[in-house]
């Protein structure tokens, strides 16, 4: 995907945001949005964000569903944990080695993981693509492994949603 394509995507994206901000669609808004977006992109040049994949709506929907599910579930758990009387919970720092080692994938996976309560990204080892996650309420190896699998599942859903074909293949192989 060339830099020009990036710019166009950005332009359209920004225009969309503009229309969302005004909340009403009108030609004036559209043109205004395009104009403002253009000005913004000229005033503040677009940085290189390498994006090699393509969008897959179905997979994306699946990702969103599971994400929402995790979010609600874990949120309740943590909230309960916070209010539960007794000793403070134990926790663990677990390294998860992702299979697709690109900036975008690392970031998105990290975001998804740490949005889900109970898990928090402490470090990212970019050279080998490892996320070190602080996981709340872990008391033994078994729970740790369970979390590692969960994290990899999250990565898989993301890659399936927006990854490039070979990335999807890569993830699929490692799963089987």
């Amino acid at each position: 995907m060339t830099r020009r394509d990036n710019t166009i995507v950005a332009l359209l994206g920004l225009t969309l945001v503009w229309i969302l901000l005004w909340g009403t669609f009108s030609w004036a808004n559209l043109l205004g949005g395009l104009g403002v977006a253009a000005v913004v992109l000229i005033a503040f040049p677009l940085p290189p964000v390498e994006f090699g994949g393509r969008l897959r709506p179905v997979a994306l929907a699946r990702f969103v569903y599971w994400f929402a599910y995790d979010l609600v579930l874990a949120s309740v758990q943590v909230a309960a944990l916070a209010c539960r009387p007794g000793d403070p919970p134990h926790s663990a720092i677990i390294g998860v080695r992702l299979r697709v080692n690109t900036d975008l994938n690392l970031t998105l996976t990290a975001e998804a993981i740490s949005l889900v309560p109970g898990s928090l990204i402490l470090e990212v080892d970019r050279s080998v693509g490892v996320l070190y996650v602080h996981v709340l309420d872990v008391s033994d190896r078994a729970q740790a492994e369970r979390f590692r699998r969960h994290a990899l599942a999250v990565e898989r859903r993301i890659v399936e949603a927006i990854g490039s074909p070979d990335e999807v293949r890569l993830v699929g192989q490692s799963e089987r």
Binding site: G95, I121, R141
Partner: protein
């Protein structure tokens, strides 16, 4: 009070409760890292619920679109803040190591 209003009220109260949980966790949890969990996480869901409640009340695109943007911004930024703080907390030893059953960073690069 319409059904939508009821739903909205539910969302709002639930969201508020999540905030309360965050507050409690913040005071009860032993070290920065665990407090981070209590603080940042339920917040996100709580915020989303509140926004949903608003949307159910307003019921017009003008405002709902804004609410959507708020949600998106929150979802994108919250984890980053958490990550940055957590990282500093760990690096500067602000956490209680005795509560860690496993520490793979330490195993990987002992310091």
């Amino acid at each position: 009070m319409s059904a939508l209003d009821v739903a909205a009220s539910a969302c709002l109260i639930a969201g508020a409760l999540f905030s309360l949980a965050a507050g409690i966790g913040l005071t009860r949890f032993p070290d920065v890292l665990s407090r981070m969990h209590a603080a940042t996480k339920p917040q996100v869901l709580g915020l989303l619920l509140v926004l949903l409640g608003c949307a159910l009340r307003f019921r017009n695109t003008v405002d709902i679109t804004t609410l959507v943007l708020i949600g998106v911004f929150a979802l994108t930024t919250a984890p980053v803040a958490a990550h940055m703080i957590g990282r500093v907390a760990y690096r500067s030893g602000e956490h209680r190591a005795d509560l860690l059953v496993i520490d793979e960073i330490a195993d990987h690069e002992p310091r």
